[in-house]
């Protein structure tokens, strides 16, 4: 004898088009997604999109104001800023996004594991995190760059990525651990333990998805930091070196000396960084809401 329940309307079937569904629920997220796509397109197809070679020095048009020929003006060597911005998006994406992603993900795994195991393991992980946190981001990155051998894969400095990713790890681990601690005591985690599931399964299947919100926020926030860190390292000669086009480098190089005469030299790279950071943050927020089934109608 079973207990009869009143008829309930069947749940709406899943949207076949994920992108369409996302844009309808998160219009702002869709806008930021378009910006990120544009950045990616510019980064991948720089050679086709950019009007000039970013490295060509043209002494005839030094410090040229924005014009029809040079949309964003030219810099102190007469290089086209617009083209450099387009090529710079490649660097920004590769270094900024990759290092933030690697750092945040490792940090999140460390944070969740720390919270899940507790006790001695938690103590050790947290003391290690404390030590890493004692160094400012840029100092730690410097140490890592200096300590590791230069290792370039496909034109990308892997060292640089790790140098920026490592200081991100403790910062994310701290925040994610706090969130994971509250998930740790949820009865559904107890239920999973009572079911005898492995620790790996509980961490990745039951806890990690529930700390996605702080993870995504940290991830997108650190993209901005990573782009800036890359710029700072470049300035010190340890990151991307001139004449490679990179947003941070464009800001921190000799732009500082000429910003009175040629404000476009800092205006456009600055705007590019802001726009990228804004887009990633917004996208992260929307993704968080979209992925949370509780916000779904």
């Amino acid at each position: 004898m079973t207990i009869a329940l009143p008829a309930v309307p069947a749940p709406r079937s899943r949207e076949p088009n994920l992108l369409l569904d996302f844009s309808r629920q998160q219009p702002l997220g869709a806008v930021s997604f378009v910006i990120i796509c544009a950045m990616m397109f510019a980064g991948v197809f720089s050679n086709l999109v950019a009007p000039y070679d970013p490295l060509t020095i043209d002494f005839a048009s030094i410090l040229g104001a924005p014009s029809w020929e040079h949309w964003c003006g030219t810099d102190a060597y007469g290089r086209d800023i617009c083209s450099r911005l387009i090529f710079g998006s490649r660097t920004a994406l590769v270094i900024g996004f990759t290092s933030s992603f690697v750092g945040s993900t490792l940090g999140a795994v460390l944070g969740v594991a720390s919270a899940y195991f507790g006790g001695k393991i938690d103590d050790w992980i947290q003391r290690f995190v404390d030590i890493l946190l004692a160094f400012p981001l840029i100092v730690l990155a410097l140490v890592v760059v200096a300590a590791l051998r230069k290792f370039v894969v496909g034109g990308v400095d892997v060292n640089l990525i790790f140098a920026i990713a490592i200081p991100i790890i403790p910062r994310v681990a701290r925040v994610v651990r706090a969130a994971a601690l509250s998930v740790r005591v949820m009865p559904y985690v107890d239920a999973a333990r009572a079911a005898g599931y492995t620790d790996t399964r509980i961490i990745f299947r039951h806890m990690a998805p529930n700390v996605v919100a702080p993870y995504l926020i940290m991830l997108t926030a650190f993209i901005a930091q990573a782009i800036l860190a890359e710029a700072s390292l470049s300035f010190l000669g340890l990151g991307v070196a001139e004449p490679t086009a990179a947003w941070g480098l464009m800001l921190s190089g000799n732009a500082a000396d000429f910003y009175r005469e040629a404000p476009w030299m800092i205006l456009f790279p600055g705007a590019a960084i802001s726009l990228a950071v804004f887009a990633f943050n917004l996208f992260g927020d929307s993704l968080r809401d979209y992925l949370d089934p509780r916000f779904r109608m």
Partner: protein, 684 residues
């Protein structure tokens, strides 16, 4: 056992009033919330009056609009989303809905005060108690510091807090839950209000503390002639304290009338069903709990017709039209077309089918055997790990296949820890747990894994026991994949559907996420998840205490049905004595980490031996106003001792009515006092 009984000593107690105009008059109140899913009509056409000094209870299930009614009176609804399109609230001659915010602010706390459910969070943790009590006095009555201080001391004395001067300087965390609720009442009383609205004032408290607090509120309301609106879902509390009862169902008043009338001569099928679906201490245990089938309606769709009709067993054609709230023969009001027929006795709630099918142990060999189990938790952290809280001390019991062992006790008595130890979520400090002959402590990893499958758990809170990121199908199906209980993905899907149907859910539910289900449905998913493991033993940790009365009955019946079907053994951990009595074969009573008494269900409830069990049974109110109002309050003094300074000797000696010097010295062993009846008391 018929609900329609002969009128009892008519109007046992009319509320004492000044015979003047009512203090509070709510007329045709409508409250709506604008949400993304449409307009939720949380309160629709609710009307009632409260006279001076009267105790009115508003009962209903969650979502019936009882808290929203209270918040509407206080005008504390969220400004952005809530609105009151229609209705009138007249308090003491003033129309509250026409007052401006400033006038309303002056009224709140001064003329009407409110006491909330959760005493742990409704006091500000960083302000002293004294500051929080004197605040309304200084704001509303313009008292000086000295005057307010004196009044605060007086108030704390009034609500029974010892050493009031000393405690003014303390912070909320230094008070126990019961003491905090007393402080909340003191704050509520501070300005001599005319009306106190108490929203589930004792739901978060233990039964012995609940009795203390309610008795206090009732006495104060008598003494100071304060009208009291108690919002609750506990029918026992209503029976004991209310003069009049308002039953809400799906945003509307289903029935209202005097407590006697509503309890003995209900004139609405919902009230009838509600009264029959509670397990009761004062009646013999029936075979099966009678339940109201189905779920309350969704308040977004403005359905026409009687709201209760879809669940009503006496539905007729006319029920498609909304019934008016009409006067009944008992002097109350009922929103039912057929209330006159109910009055003549033509309609009675159908008796539950089936005779008493008593669950019985199917073997003499214990399935689970717990011996001298102790669990100490270190406190103080850091370098001082030597101090411990003895959460569980020297607990032993057996559970046989197919039986239900009830484990009752108040919060902090260690009952949940016992459950967690059995589930191997905590490691015991001392003692052994043997499942089917294998010791958990010395079991190999492989043994432990099979054991984990055999022992499953159902948690209290259906809102947090399901992973919000997984669909119902994934939740129930996970054990099938992990343990490869079924061979393929298709069989797994079929098995999930079968499991869902077993627990009374439709198979389409597999695609849903937990937040799309109601509390009762979630609890069913939790049960299905446990069953997926094909266990032989389930720990039910307060499995029904977070559910509404009518849903609670459904889940209890489901658990019993599954027990018969699969021969499951349950450890049923709960604080509700009536529920434990209904479902258990034997009962263990715990207090402060130790077992006080073990006996057969019927023996324990009929002739308890241990003074603590007696106190516990006494404190639990039964849903019958005649019994409740006829009996003297038998209150247990004091509160749970501190875990950091446990009493010497018998742990109950600080509150025990018959404790002697010997009790303070000797720890009483759990002895067999009568065949199969154990108690840990030297006095019996």
């Amino acid at each position: 056992m018929n609900i329609v009984e002969t009128p009892l000593g008519a109007q046992a107690r009319e509320p004492k009033t000044d015979a003047a105009a009512p203090l509070l008059e709510v007329v045709d109140l409508h409250t709506e919330f604008v949400t993304a899913r449409g307009i939720v009509r949380a309160v629709e056409g609710v009307s009632f009056t409260v006279r001076r000094g009267e105790v009115v209870a508003i009962v209903g299930e969650s979502g019936s609009g009882k808290s929203v009614t209270a918040l509407s009176i206080m005008r504390l609804l969220p400004r952005q989303s809530a609105r009151i399109p229609k209705g009138r609230i007249v308090f003491d001659g003033r129309s509250l809905l026409d007052l401006d915010d400033e006038q309303m602010r002056k009224l709140r706390g001064r003329d009407i005060s409110m006491i909330f459910q959760e005493p742990m969070t409704s006091l500000n943790p960083i302000l002293t108690i004294g500051l929080q009590i004197t605040e309304p006095l200084k704001i509303h009555l313009g008292m000086t510091d000295a005057q307010a201080q004196a009044r605060a001391v007086e108030l704390l004395g009034l609500v029974g807090i010892p050493d009031p001067e000393g405690r003014l300087e303390q912070y909320p965390h230094q008070f126990s839950g019961g003491m905090r609720q007393r402080v909340m009442i003191a704050i509520g009383l501070a300005c001599n209000p005319k009306l106190i609205i108490a929203d589930e004032p004792t739901t978060a408290l233990d039964v012995t503390i609940q009795a203390q607090i309610l008795e206090l509120m009732k006495n104060l309301s008598r003494k100071l002639n304060i009208a009291l609106i108690i919002i609750t879902h506990n029918l026992g509390v209503v029976a004991r304290y209310a003069d009049r009862v308002i039953v809400l169902y799906a945003a509307r008043v289903a029935e209202q009338g005097s407590a006697d009338a509503v309890f003995h001569r209900p004139r609405h099928p919902y009230s009838m069903g509600l009264l029959r679906s509670v397990p009761r201490l004062d009646r013999p245990r029936g075979a099966k709990l009678e339940t109201i089938e189905g779920l309350p309606p969704n308040l977004v769709d403005g359905s026409s017709g009687c709201r209760f009709a879809p669940r009503c067993p006496y539905r007729i054609a006319v029920c498609d039209q909304e019934p008016p709230l009409s006067p009944t023969d008992t002097g109350g009001f009922s929103r039912c077309h057929r209330h006159a027929e109910i009055a003549t006795g033509k309609i009675t709630w159908a008796a539950a089918e089936g005779k008493a099918e008593i669950t019985a142990a199917t073997s003499a060999e214990p399935l689970l055997s717990v011996r001298n189990l102790s669990k100490y938790f270190p406190v103080g952290g850091g370098w001082r790990r030597d101090r411990v809280v003895r959460a569980v001390e020297d607990v032993s019991f057996d559970i046989f296949p197919g039986e239900t062992l009830g484990l009752v006790g108040e919060s902090g008595c260690g009952k949940t820890t016992v459950g967690r130890l059995i589930l191997h979520l905590e490691t015991p400090t001392k003692g052994s747990i043997r499942l089917a002959g294998i010791d958990l402590a010395s079991a190999t990893a492989a043994d432990l894994k099979t054991m984990r499958r055999k022992v499953q758990v159902i948690f209290q809170d259906p809102y947090s026991s399901l992973n919000p990121r997984m669909t119902v199908g994934q939740i129930v199906g996970e054990p099938l994949h992990v343990y490869r209980i079924v061979p393929g993905a298709q069989q797994a899907e079929a098995r999930v559907a079968e499991l869902l149907e077993n627990v009374g859910l439709r198979r389409e539910m597999a695609e849903r996420y937990p937040h799309q289900l109601s509390g009762g449905q979630r609890q069913r998913v939790g049960i299905a998840r446990a069953l997926a493991m094909e266990p032989s033993f389930i720990v039910c940790d307060e499995a029904v205490s977070a559910l509404d009365v009518s849903i609670q009955g459904q889940i209890i019946n489901l658990l019993e049905e599954l027990q018969r079907k699969y021969g499951l053994a349950y450890l049923f951990i709960a604080h509700d004595l009536a529920v434990v009595r209904h479902i258990s074969l034997r009962v263990v009573v715990m207090y402060f980490g130790r077992i006080m008494e073990v006996a057969d269900r019927d023996t324990l409830y009929r002739e308890p031996l241990h003074p603590y069990t007696k106190v516990l049974l006494d404190a639990a109110p039964v849903p019958d106003p005649t019994i409740e109002k006829g009996r003297e309050p038998r209150l247990i003094k004091g509160e749970l001792p501190s875990h950091l300074a446990p009493p010497a000797g018998c742990v109950f000696n600080t509150r025990c009515p018959i404790a002697s010097q010997e009790c303070r010295e000797v720890v009483p062993p759990l002895e067999q006092k009568k065949p199969g009846h154990y108690a840990a008391c030297i006095k019996v």
